[in-house]
Amino acid sequence: FDVAVIRMNDPNSKVNTLSVRMQNEIIEVFNEVLANDAVQSAVLISSKPGCFIAGADINMIQACNTSEEVTKLSQEGQKMFERIEKSPKPIVAAINGSCLGGGLEFAIACQYRVATKSKKTVLGTPEVMLGLLPGAGGTQRLPKMVGIPGAFDMMLTGRNIKADKAKKMGLVHQLVDPLGPGLKSPEERTIEYLEEVAIQCARGIVHKKILLTKKKGMMQKVQDYVMGIAFVRQQIYKNVNGKVMKMSKGLYPAPLKIIESVKAGLEQGPDSGYLAEAQNFGKLAMTSESNALIGLYHGQVACKKNRFGVPERPVKNLAILGAGLMGAGIAQVTVDKGIHTVLKDTTVEGLSRGQQQVYKGLNDKIKKKAITSFERDSTLSSLTGQLDYSGFEKADMVIEAVFEDINIKHRVIKEVEAVIPPHCIFATNTSALPIKDIAAASMRPEKVIGMHYFSPVDKMQLLEIITTDKTSKDTTASAVAVGLKQGKVIIVVGDGPGFYTTRCLAPMLAEAVRVLQEGVNPKKLDALTTGFGFPVGAATLADEVGIDVAAHVAEDLGKAFGSRFGGGNVDVLKTMVERGFKGRKSGKGCYVYTPGLKSKDVNPDIDDLLEKFKLTPNPSVSSDSDVQYRLVSRFVNEAVMCLQEGILNGPVEGDIGAVFGLGFPPCLGGPFRFVDTFGADKLVAKMRRYEEVYGNHFTPCQLLLDHAKDSNKRFHK
């Protein structure tokens, strides 16, 4: 019994998290290891397949009321890991599955790390994505372990690192291959094997066969020397700081605090470093940004569940109509999920383009080493490209992604219903046409549902599912199940013009057009919106969506909602379309796009166009800040109105939809979180001021007024 094996397994959860209870148990076990003379070393391993430690318990942090409490939590963690680090008996962390956040900090406090090469094995410090920092020694240990640039990269991006990469970076010492079938299940045996190898390592360390201080290579020596120069380090801090400011516009405090903590440790010694880490951790935990990001995290988890239950029959054969960007994009995220996918178009050219898009998507994954060329080929074997309806009698679901025209959609639904089996679901991918209007042509409206994907489908996480009064629960359950398989974050909303996402976006775009008409140029408009936290500026967004689409939507929704959706003149957009300025796809929109060039210039030809539609700005509502709030308040008001009208199921889905589908500033956590944090009364006050100038475009909806009246009313508890 020279090697003690510590197996972690939280009986109440699918994953292990570092909770107070677990920490206490670890300390207890660790004391035993130290006290037992027969034990010379220890192995730390999780019995859960696919998870080492997924991170610290977020609830533990959220339960704290003051930053001092959180700082204390951090310091307790630091102390525990310091004891592990200084343990006279070597401890080997055997990692299979996610080793994130506090889990990673635990692992790097151990003397040695062995990890499986399983696809599920990922290491990382995702705290920054929750507006926090690695608060249990991470900011202090990582720079020493993987170098200053590597550590910044890990902590500032929060990205997951696969086992191979972790080995190269020096984050783990040894890798173990996952095993296939044997005398036990592959998962079980792989963990056992990992444990066996880790035990060998532990013995090797005790018997000095494995040395913990590696001989440094030439490169390492040079790197260490360079990093030893204070001036070089200062340059790095400056550089990283600059990058962070550029990316975050200073709206996210966590990255800056991470840099600060690392710097404190490196420049003023470990005592200051650990103290800075703990204090900064405490401060960050109390910020609204962290609160917003944690809210989004919980929301995302909630939107990855199917609240409609298990569908009666799983979708095994899916047919997609239209091989355009959308259709092919949907095929791309479906075909590698074990669903046989038919991609149908009307022309060979259209179909080939779509097939190439799917191929390219998979091929790019090979370049990133996410899959092998063999996996690409076998995945593509599940994709059938065709021009006719053959095989549709086997389809469990059809998703149409044809041109946004009600007449074409009606023709298609009739054609399809003539060939599909009775159980088959007909999903329509539209961004604005009401589903009930499309379903009007259907013989079985209970099987009709809207599935609004966002472009590019393989990158955008959101799927907005739209149900009509007639859509059956099983149809919805099935659509959600397919979306979840496709890896989407899903909101299910009620039917109506523009559903939820497009409806929120439309007034904001109308306002953006007005802002342009008032003489703000597109670059400035973009700067104002990104400065508020939108990842993409309003003018760029319009170009990306397509000016023609924007014009179409503005006109349609304008008709549906009346003057409230006014603001900018729709003719601005229409004239742009007439002149061929359809946005990025046509090479010109608000900007001019030159292939191969990343930078873009304002389209010089829209100057005279805007001149023609020029409006005189009212100085009382035209400061930079006012312009920002004019854009945002219309978005937020519309979102709240969607909740008021029952289009939205709840504020959580509203926030997730806005952030993941439309790029609402994540640091604000979504429109509903924003109202809670900013204060409904303050928002209403601003809107009233704008209302005086612009009229009903800024009239706050009833629900927002209710919240403004009663400050106890909150969308999120």
Binding site: Q174, V176, G180, P181, G182, L183, S185, Q200, F374
Partner: protein, 464 residues
């Protein structure tokens, strides 16, 4: 005698009692079936089987070409059987790494061996079970009534392998072929860069998974909990038994071969019984540092060729031959090339036994292809596991592992060598020879192959 840890004495039947006639007779009486002959189905017999000595690649055969080796095996077969050169209906050869100049190596070898040029011949490939495919193709032709007399064989020549120009260079060279003007040619030549000159070696890795076979074998051994010690013991057993068989003159399928410009070769040269201590010194070859598969417990790169004469029983008897064995039921299996790459024998054995209506106990002689000691041990453990049988093979119970006192008693691929394309015929001939020597009735061949495939065949002794 090497020092062996607990429980493995039975691997070393040095004072073998297994060949005592008394025990064999006992076994005979308890067979599930008296014979595997089926009414209305032609009996197909193995008349003779030969092979060149199997040599470590890069040794005495180094300057030959693959068809030279195959030719030697064919000539050896002709010599041993006194078969008239036009009495064969069809010649089939198996090979894995093809020499591009002789891609139908069967044809080149048969012409060179002096067979009539009227005999058609073709080449097949299925990794390490290529010559098994050659034989079973022959069996099929006879069963179908197309042929009566087949020569099947296999050849592998690892002393020379096709190393290609890079794809970019090949593309340039092919474009040069089509270039019409001097200017075009010069510009193409000018486009050649240093990177174009990097050669392309034949892949050692599985194409579908990019994993080398040794790596997969190491993972397989780990999955079945096969220890390094077990593997080294098995490797030592293979070498020890091969040496004994060689010394006792039991490897009568080996023909001597006068290599042009070199000496006459008459013996396999890869048999090296060493000691457990020495084996233990080797470092893992594939998974480092904790792997268990080493160079010593893996089969080595080998040059060699084999050939067998297969006939319908009637024809063999009519031509005055005394057949050695019946070739009976066979199966080919395949499974996941990633995690079950080398489990062919575990899947093939129960399947072929079921086909033949036999049980494990009915088999007197086992000859399994030894790709890696760890792979053999994993297959034996898989055969002996109810859980594996139920979970992966859809069987209610395991068939059980073969008794070691019947298993690969004259050495195996680990010690004799493993010329990929040629091993199958060696296994079948060895079963026939062992049945004759040991007096058993049924023998079983099983082998794994790249691609996650496998083969198993039941062989019945020809009544003497």
């Amino acid at each position: 005698k090497p020092v062996i840890s607990t429980g493995s004495e039975h691997y070393f039947p040095f004072n073998a009692e297994w060949s005592s006639k008394g025990r064999e007779l006992e076994r005979f009486q308890t067979k599930s079936k008296k014979t595997l002959a089926k009414p209305g189905v032609k009996n197909i017999v193995l008349v003779e089987g030969v092979r060149t000595p199997f040599l470590l690649s890069g040794t005495t055969y180094a300057d030959l070409m693959p068809h030279d080796l195959a030719r030697a095996a064919l000539q050896g077969l002709l010599h041993k059987t006194s078969l008239p050169k036009d009495a064969v209906d069809y010649i089939i050869y198996g090979t894995v790494i093809q020499e591009v100049k002789t891609s139908n190596v069967a044809r080149e070898a048969s012409l060179g061996a002096g067979f009539s040029d009227k005999i058609p011949s073709h080449t097949v490939t299925m990794a390490c079970i290529s010559s098994n495919v050659a034989m079973t193709t022959g069996v099929g032709l006879i069963t179908a009534g197309q042929c009566d007399t087949i020569v099947a064989g296999g050849v592998e020549f690892m002393s020379d392998v096709p190393i290609r120009h890079s794809r970019k260079m090949r593309k340039t060279m092919l474009a040069l072929n089509r270039a019409k003007t001097l200017g075009q040619r010069l510009s193409l030549i000018g486009s050649i860069r240093m990177a174009h000159l990097t050669p392309e070696l034949p892949a050692v890795a599985e194409f579908s998974t990019a994993e080398t076979m040794g790596h997969s074998a190491d993972r397989l051994a780990a999955a079945f909990g096969v220890t390094r010690l077990e593997q080294d013991e098995f490797a030592l057993r293979s070498h020890t038994l091969a040496k004994q068989a060689q010394d006792a003159g039991l490897l009568s399928d080996v023909i001597s071969f006068k290599v042009p410009g070199r000496d006459t070769v008459a013996k396999d040269n890869g048999i090296r019984p060493s000691s457990m201590e020495q084996l233990a010194k080797l470092k893992p070859a594939f998974i480092k540092p904790h792997g268990t598969v080493t160079a010593a417990n893996s089969s080595f790169l080998t040059d060699g060729a084999s050939a067998v004469l297969i006939m319908s029983e009637e024809k063999a008897l009519a031509m005055g031959y005394k057949p050695k064995a019946y070739l009976r039921d066979f199966v080919f299996v395949s499974q996941d090339p990633k995690d079950q790459l080398l489990l062919g024998p575990a899947y093939g054995t129960p399947k072929v036994l079921a086909r033949a209506g036999l049980t494990m106990d009915d088999i007197d002689v086992f000859e399994f292809h030894e790709a890696f000691a760890g792979q053999i041990m994993a297959n034996l453990k898989a055969l002996d596991s109810d859980w594996f049988a139920q979970t992966y093979m859809g069987r209610k119970v395991k068939v059980g592992a073969p008794a070691m006192e019947k298993f690969n008693l004259w050495g195996g691929s680990l010690s004799l060598g493993h010329p990929f394309g040629a091993t199958g015929c060696r296994l079948v001939t060895t079963v026939a020879h062992r049945l004759l020597k040991e007096g058993g009735q049924y023998g079983l061949v099983a082998a794994c192959a790249a691609g996650g495939q496998g083969h198993a065949m039941v062989i019945e002794a020809y009544p003497q």
